[in-house]
Amino acid sequence: MNSTLSRFWFCLALTLLSCPSATAGDVVVISNSEITVSPDEVADIYTGEKQFSGSTQLIPVDNAALQEGFLSAFMQMDTVKYNRLWTRKLFRDGLARPSMKSGDVAVSAYVRRTPGAIGYVSTIPPGVKVIQIISVQ
């Protein structure tokens, strides 16, 4: 019994250690579990340069509560430049800008249920893939 219990705690500790975790001030980039996106593709996706993962169309969404920190950390730009970039993308290439979600709950729910979706939140939600965690402090 003791041996079984020890094995359980060991496995639990190993699982928790191997899982990525976010702390306050982090931005966690997540994707729908059906696609695979690498961290160095995030900026390309949010600038409309990368639109597909395999044959799945990528659908980036913005998080109103975290957009400023995300743009600064991942894209090295502010919201003015980001909006200008997407105005140009829309006018030049007919690409739709990422839709704006109100916060973590809306982004997590959308990414979980939408094939090809990618978003960013402050804590890791269940049922999605974590692409990258970056501190914005």
């Binding site: 390309d44 340069e49 990368k50 639109q51 597909f52 044959s55 169309q57 730009m77 003015v80 430049k81 909006n83 200008r84 105005t87 140009r88 829309l90 006018f91 030049r92 290439d93 007919g94 690409l95 739709a96 249920r113 939408t114």
Partner: protein, 388 residues
Amino acid sequence: MPALAATDSERINEMQRQIDGLRNEIHQVTEMAHRSGHGAGLPLHGFMDIGFSLNTQGDPVANPPGFYLGSLSLYLSPDFGDNVKSLVEPHFEATSQGATSTDIERLQIGYTFSDAATVWGGRFHTPYGYWNTAFHHGAQMQASVFRPRFLDFEDEGGVLPAHTVGLWGTGKFRTDSGRFTYDVFIGNGHTITGAANLGNPASQTLGILDPNNSGDRDHSAIAGLNAGYEFSGNMSGLRLAIHGLSGNIDTETPTKFYETGLNVTGGSAVYVTNDWEVMSEYYRFADKDKTDATGTHNSWAGYMQVGVIYNDLTPYVRLEKAMLNQKDIYFSSQENGQSYSRQALGLRYNLNPNTAMKLELLNSRFLPDAARTALAYRSLHVQYSIGF
């Protein structure tokens, strides 16, 4: 009891099946709502500008001073939520005669196969150089008041086929140090319309390029490519490209039909960062006279513009020059085909992210030739432009 347990088990299984079914239906309805949301409603965007001009030319008909209406360019880009894309750009502007002209500047329907391949069909901005597909008709997007004159649209001073009706393939390939980009296109060959009595300076009328929207009436296609490389890392913002286009351009006059083999090659170098906007393009023409067999005539045109971005202020300077051989019927039959040089000095100020006020000084000098007179003047232009 065992019989009851079996019944309960069946009921539980049945309920589980129903819950799974409902869950599946909810998922499908949610997905449908999400998908249909892409096509529900169509946001209207556009660009608009007005302005004021003064000049030393002293010809109030050809170059009238005073306040003027620029253009209103709308763009509609329905989002189908999948690989299908479309883009429509209706454009309204005041002509120099004071009338209002309406044009469908772009009408494109496309299909994206991957990041490396999108195919568009319809009327699009011909993908040569940089400016023509970077700023389109949106004055608010570009730093300067005007485009380089030789790159202007066909009915506003340009000498190149700025619009093409046909097919356009475009895409990008990621590499370790940047992106390789390409554009290839094929479309209706253009026609120079409105020309008459060519070669008779006293009575001649010059024409403009027509992209033949409703079909290639003279069966002369035009094709071209633009291949470039966008650097990343330390050289991020730098783009180098080469371009070329070739095709038969016909000049129609009431008494004679001329055919020119248009051959354009050149390149562009662009460096755009948060602090700098440097753009340059070069075009070399080797046009073959296919009517009177006078041979191949060489011409060239180019510009360089440098802008420095200080927050909302962008001072800029531009040099442009076009040496257009008048033995080439492609230029001599065009209203805008006169050789010229121009220097521009300007300042752009962003009142907010969607509004810009610009001031531009131009020094223009048009060279004389057998059928045109020399002209030199300075002009000042103020433009108030918005994007919405």
